[in-house]
Symmetry: C3
Subunit: 157 residues, 3 copies
């Protein structure tokens, strides 16, 4: 399988992480019609959580933006499985939700969420532009910096 | 009406609460095509809110997990109405979002969210496995412990 | 273009803001099938953010409810573009998510979220009733009071 998007990933030097399997009664994605709903992804990389802590306290903006990008890479790793390994089936990145672990009153969630959003446009071009929300939170699983979920539209294979 | 899922609920001794009607300009669910979008449910049981407070302060993990399960029971009560009382029409639990009222930096939202996720798999089996996000928050309606919303896929009747 | 909904907006004296364009790699809405996913909207009005701060600290309930209404007006402004200016194509308001920037333990997110919900029913009548969640958060973009995203069902033109 060596599609257009796989080639773009190669050209950009983007490596996807091993897709993690939830150790619970949920799954990394569900397909309903042409929509793929991807579960919330944290900055997990082949067994380790990178970027732990709150923006504005332990973490800088730049670190949190990297954390958001890694959430995005995990989204892509799950999406690839959802597409039967063929990312060329992705029609649209529909919606991304970004949660930022931050101190009270922190204001720059959008800049951090760009870590995910920029990745989608790097990989899919115009097709990667999506609706999005970005909010702050006082606590995330494993105290990680960011969490992101997503909805994509794919074509049938 | 005595379908397969109703029988499983009986066998498991699971009783659904009276479905609550929002006292505002929103509704408990909307059907669009084959998708049912269920409004955020709190641990409401026939008129009372059970499990008030924050995990890590007033509430233990175990209490919060029970709160999450009750959110799930309310989701099922609304879903049953959406299906015209026939839960056998449920094809898939597509997506669940879980919000946990917790102290700053609390890390175990996934364990609490399992209260909802385990319920869905008890009731629907493999069909109950879903995509999910679980995050913390500093405040929820009525200061309840958890809130959960959901998307299901149903077949036409 | 002078449809039924445009006339209702006129009759109600409701003026929509200039729809804002995100200054990043995301877009204000994505259409997938008959669903329109609207990006998170903040209380932005023609270049300025109104209603900055936290409910329970700098802001009253009433101010936050107004902020939520302005989020809703921005949702409508984006939805109008999504419908090619013809809001009569809106079949259903499917789902609204409301995030309220608030102090720890604040309990009245639903009352504030009614600012968006009431607007939808004013404008669309019964069609405007939607599934909803409302939660608190310790931080929102630009420290604004509220953020809301939405999903609508539209008919093809």
């Amino acid at each position: 399988m060596s599609g257009k998007i796989e080639k773009r990933l190669d050209d950009l030097g983007i490596v996807l992480p091993e897709p993690a399997s939830p150790a619970a009664n949920y799954v990394p994605f569900i397909i309903s019609g042409s929509l793929v709903f991807i579960a919330g992804q944290i900055p997990f990389w082949n067994g380790d959580i990178l970027h732990i802590g709150k923006v504005g306290a332990e973490l800088t903006m730049e670190e949190a933006k990297k954390a958001a990008r890694i959430c995005g890479l995990n989204i892509l790793a799950q999406l690839k499985i959802a597409c039967g390994s063929d990312l060329d089936r992705v029609n649209k990145c529909v919606k991304i939700g970004v949660f930022v672990n931050c101190i009270d009153g922190f204001k720059q969630q959008p800049e951090i969420a760009n870590g995910v959003s920029d990745l989608m446009v790097e990989v899919f071009g115009e097709t990667g532009r999506h609706a999005r929300f970005a909010i702050g939170t006082n606590a995330l699983p494993r105290n990680c910096a960011t969490e992101a979920d997503a909805v994509f539209e794919i074509s049938s294979n």
